[in-house]
Amino acid sequence: MSMTLDSKVPSGPLERKWSKHRGESKLVAPNNRPKFDIIIVGSGLAGASAAATLGELGYNVKCFCFQDSARRAHSIAAQGGINAAKNYQNDGDSVFRLFYDTIKGGDFRSREANVHRLAEISLNIIDQCVAQGVPFAREYGGLLANRSFGGVQVSRTFYARGQTGQQLLLGAYQALEHEVAEGTVKMYPRTEMLDLVLVDGHAKGIVVRNLVTGEISTHAADTVVLATGGYGNVFYLSTNAKGCNVTATWRAHKRGALFANPCFTQIHPTCIPVSGPYQAKLTLMSESLRNDGRVWVPDKKKDPRPPGQIPESERDYYLERKYPSFGNLVPRDIASRNAKEVCDEGRGVGPSGLGVYLDFSDAIKRHGEDTIRERYGNLFEMYQNITNEDAYKTPMRIYPAVHYTMGGLWVDYNLMSTIPGLHVLGEANFSDHGANRLGASALMQGLSDGYFVIPSTIANYLATQLGKKVSANRPEFKAAESEVRLRINRLLSIKGKKSVTTFHRELGLLVWDKCGMARDAQGLKDALQKIPALREEFWQNVNVLGDGAEFNQALEHAGRVADFLEFAELMCLDALDRKESCGCHFRLESQTKEGEALRDDEHYCYVSAWEYTGPNTPANLVMEPLTFEYVKLSQRSYK
């Protein structure tokens, strides 16, 4: 039987859909709200803003995160900024333009209605955050400042130094802690969700492990909201925080939630290159550096000379050469792919040969070292701290790294997954960025989902659930809990020869190689052979020490890697199905004569939503066709 997906996009003109939908949505009366228990997993921008707002509305909220405080969610690390169509710069910005840029930036693989709603709500987000005391950058007149970000032609990005994510998260966290003080939200830090519990097909609870004591317990609620972030760490090395994982969404997938576009991952072009196998994570260098830095590699392969001794005539400023009109400012995917290409040709720099130069000498000559220091001083310092090199004197070395995942659990316009009662917010869902996310749009989406969308749409589900409360004593809870225990005991009893990290690193290298910036059918098929074998070996030979009933980080990591080992296969399967080059990913089989990405709208203008069919059987593809009424599909060109 094949399943069909109902996106529940409201009818009517694009710019009226959201207000119409809100007007027609069900309501839960204030006196009924405290009767509803809502579980929110995740306290990043999406989870914290949702928990704070739903608590304030009077619902009874339980919020979970694995860090020791809600304030430390991965959102804290976002640097660049958040977009909003305020048009404060009077440079022609509008809700429609932000909508259009986001749809086009996503390479026409997202839903028009969702993206338009996001652009509308962007205005409210800035108001909300400013009122909370988020110290955005300001002009001398005291009004809010903006910058241009991510290759768009208007200045619509709001920022708080290089710490925008931190400041937005602290705003949401403080609102959340206020609700904790009010008693509407109960916070469970250092608690990890390990499974979802379904009762009669509806999401009604979760199984969690207390990371301090190791205690396993269950929680029941009327609805479950996942805001658990992205899965970039399937690649082992990424710019994500160490703890980012796919466990919550993967467990929900195995319980029936469709997983959409898992192969849509974003590779950021300007990160500090890998320096050795001991390395635990990669560090992002802000994209803004490309405003003044020039990217180049030597003409000659394996040129041993230090950069200063390579004359101008023997350098290849390949972005300027190939894309004269955008030059060093081409979008992320193009910058990343070209870096890989020159390194594959053997012209990469640095000890590993996997790096390209980002050279500031011309900018320093033109503007003076002081100006450059003013613009990027903290980044140069960070670079020096990590690499021990002075980027004022010698070019930086950069290389692309995994940064963000556009794929996630499939959700409808109400942000509900294919499991009734399971809602998904933020990076964990697939909804708004298509095949490529624009800079400064993830923070916008997280807060839009959490502050503004879910507080309205959740009532559409809850209103159908009055009087249907379930208790955690039901057999479904006991069964899920004992499965979790069994799995933990299995992990602890293997006592094999390889560490969890070794497996994680091996998996990461494999998917980076076969399902990274460029992919082809042969490589993906190869990965699809190797991943199950690696998974098999993991369950035979992993070594997890210690006990389940105590604080045990190796055990936490083991559970996450076990899930990555399953998820990676779906990611490759999805990549194999999509035989077009699109957004962030390049299918070698689908390119133009000039070697640029070739999208295939005739065959692939759909969302790939995958249905779990059981262990060791391939997932089932369900398509949600994408239709465009308000924008015209066009090939992106940056020549």
Binding site: G133, H178, P189, S275, I386
Partner: protein, 250 residues
Amino acid sequence: MNFKLKVWRQKNAVSPGSFKDYDAKDIPSEASFLEMLDIVNESLTGNSEDPIEFDSDCREGICGMCSLVINGIPHGPGKGTTCQVYMRRFTDGDTIWIEPFRAAAFSPIKDLVVDRSAFDRIIQAGGYIVVRTGSAPEANSLPVPKHNADLAMEAAACIGCGACVAACPNSSAMLFVAAKVSHLGLLPQGQAERETRAIHMVREMDELGFGNCRNYYECEAICPAEISATFIARLNRDYAAASAQEALTV
């Protein structure tokens, strides 16, 4: 590079802890301090010895999760967080002492991991501006002088790691509280709750077992976010004003 490590091991909150010796062998000088510990943990695991537990997440100096005292200094040498310390700062053959952040209000969890949830409770006491979602006025309707906005940002940069507490001979959380009170108090949006905020947060801090501020300024010296101790003076002013107000109204 090779190092001798003296690492605090403690099974849980109730068991006593002690320093144990470990060898860190063949560490690349480009490795970070936490990557050095990762390498040591890999070899411990290989020998079926329990790995050393320590907190970290972003490993970029912003989340405030990492929290080691290295050779007696919270976050170790240099000005950033623990995760931003690189091994090239040390000399081959060095002995390195590694301990958790210690304070009465931070109870131990295991090895180098401690419980800093007291900071969340201080925020719950008043570290916010109450604004119902959706009811905010248009953002540019209230200009904020750039100077104030910049100063507020400097205070808001606190990462909540707790190094200030670990460094203070009195285990005071004054710098943490001052940073939040100043951040919100410097903005026009934060005025309505300004005085109650100061008084509630300071009281909560006292109740949670943090010590008093005796102006040692160890906190400022150690702070990875470079929060200035001048914010403590600002907090004291708000606190005094609020106390006077309170005395009048009783």
